[in-house]
Point group: C2
Chain length 305, copies 2
């Protein structure tokens, strides 16, 4: 079974959770779950795993392994427009693993780096590859979380950086979670939907489309193709960009105007959101220079193991 199929099953299972149970505002299916505490804080909850041989190669420096494990979950907080607050780190270490202390130190250091202290964890020794699981709790600090489901027809598509070439360039180990841009997005009031790009611009754009019941249409010529990437097709297929894709209401109705200042500056618009045509399912389309339409949902990186 593909991971994406299984996740779809989980989302279906969880359909009854939202709003039905104590303080759950958004259940499985977005970058983070959103919950409300008894006194009214809106918190974000996310967990991600990093498995040797899957998310990093054997021989990767311990510091970069720890960095990636923490950054993946921090990026999910950024994708909702939140601020990371506290982290938990769990690890399964191979029996002969010699870098346990160094790894723990690095996890704590990267937590502090993103102002998100690692407040607890678990360690097990077991057969199999080194596996790290990082949970991050974030908070919205009064802003509304930006979901995948809020896009509207006419929204423009903006990115926080280039896509593609993440593995070859090593970006997937050194990416900077877009906390500032995500925060600015939540505060702007203009960003209606947002996602961080882990499985490729194609698949992740399609996820916003599916969640919003609309079609995202990307102009291939405007996709900011990463260095070392052959062309837009490769760039939208590859995963682990960890840039944010935003659906933004045009500022003052002016198409193409930069919607707000962010660090790094937003790139775009690379496309628009429209209603689905007759018989067309929600998702995303990429239009190439010849006007041909490609289904973006099929252009991405699936974790098929």
């Amino acid at each position: 079974m593909r991971e994406s199929d299984l996740l779809a099953h989980v989302y279906a299972l969880a359909g009854g959770i939202n709003a039905a149970e104590g303080g759950v505002l958004v259940g499985p299916g977005d970058d983070c779950a959103v919950v409300r505490t008894p006194r009214g804080d809106v918190l974000l909850l996310t967990v991600d795993q990093a498995v040797e041989g899957r998310h990093f190669e054997p021989g990767t420096p311990v510091d970069l392994i720890a960095r990636k494990a923490v950054a993946r979950s921090i990026s999910d907080i950024a994708a909702m427009g939140g601020v990371p607050a506290w982290g938990l780190a769990a690890g399964v270490l191979p029996p002969d693993y010699r870098h346990g202390r160094e790894l723990c130190q690095a996890l704590h250091a990267w937590g502090r780096h993103w102002r998100c202290p690692i407040v607890g964890g678990d360690i097990a020794v077991g057969p199999g590859p080194l596996t790290l699981t990082v949970t991050i709790v974030g908070n919205m600090g009064g802003a509304d979380p930006v979901l995948r489901s809020g896009a509207r027809p006419g929204d423009e598509l903006w990115l926080t950086g280039q896509v593609g070439g993440s593995f070859e360039s090593g970006w997937h180990l050194r990416f900077e979670p877009r906390l500032d841009a995500g925060r600015a997005a939540a505060r702007s009031g203009l960003v209606r939907a947002m996602i961080d790009l882990s499985d490729g611009l194609g698949r992740d754009a399609a996820r916003i489309g599916a969640a919003s019941g609309l079609r995202l249409v990307i102009d291939a010529a405007r996709v900011p193709v990463g260095r070392g990437c052959r062309d837009w097709k490769q760039a939208v297929r590859e995963g682990e960009d960890y840039e944010l894709l935003m659906c933004v209401a045009p500022r003052d109705g002016r198409a193409g105007a930069v919607p707000f200042d962010a660090d790094p500056p937003l790139i775009g618009p690379i496309g628009v959101v429209r209603a689905c045509r007759e018989g067309e399912s929600p998702g995303a389309t990429i239009v190439d220079a010849d006007g041909h339409e490609h289904d973006a949902g099929e252009m991405g990186w699936d974790h098929t193991g």
Copy 2:
């Protein structure tokens, strides 16, 4: 390296966290971390892993695997006197794993069972054994969390159930996290320290002693030995009891009186807390029928892989 050594290293690393960073009341080293949200909710954070071949045998029914994975973390919430609120479940599934859907359903069902909806998660396919990682967020609902570090000389030691025989009897797959008793403990105002027994009464008692700078002294003859257990020595060594050990101020100063009603009823007292003698390190001692003293910290289950 033994897991316990590595954990000691993590606790040392984390020594600077408590009270130093945003909202962290208790960092690594207790059953849960304790944090305070901006509006003043006191939350508990905990994560635990369940690895095939370590925490459950190959061939264990999927429902019991899911149950144990969730229950381990719920038990940590119980050990602070909290109420579980929300959970996250992450899994690394072997490439040929056929029970993904069933497993997800079971994780969600057990979350609901303990009124703790699973609001998010992550799935990866990777080599190695089936590994589940469950994070639980709990809240204290106005009560103070019961830490490991609060024991005082004269406190009596009480348990929520028998110890030992967990693996043979299958209790380790079917244990009931002691949420009611833990909650009653936090509300009673009499319980000064508490822990859930995962690594054996001996080692876990020693952890309260170490955290409190005192010595827990257990009367071997009073240890409630589980069915199928040969004797007290085996009972205190074996792990995965998931009962709570409490250090309780004698009610109205009456030694031996049941301190408060709980479900199940408390068993004890099985010993007392005293100051360390000259040259004696904090920890725990078990006194046998002949008056011989055994160091409890050496009597337990270490995860040496």
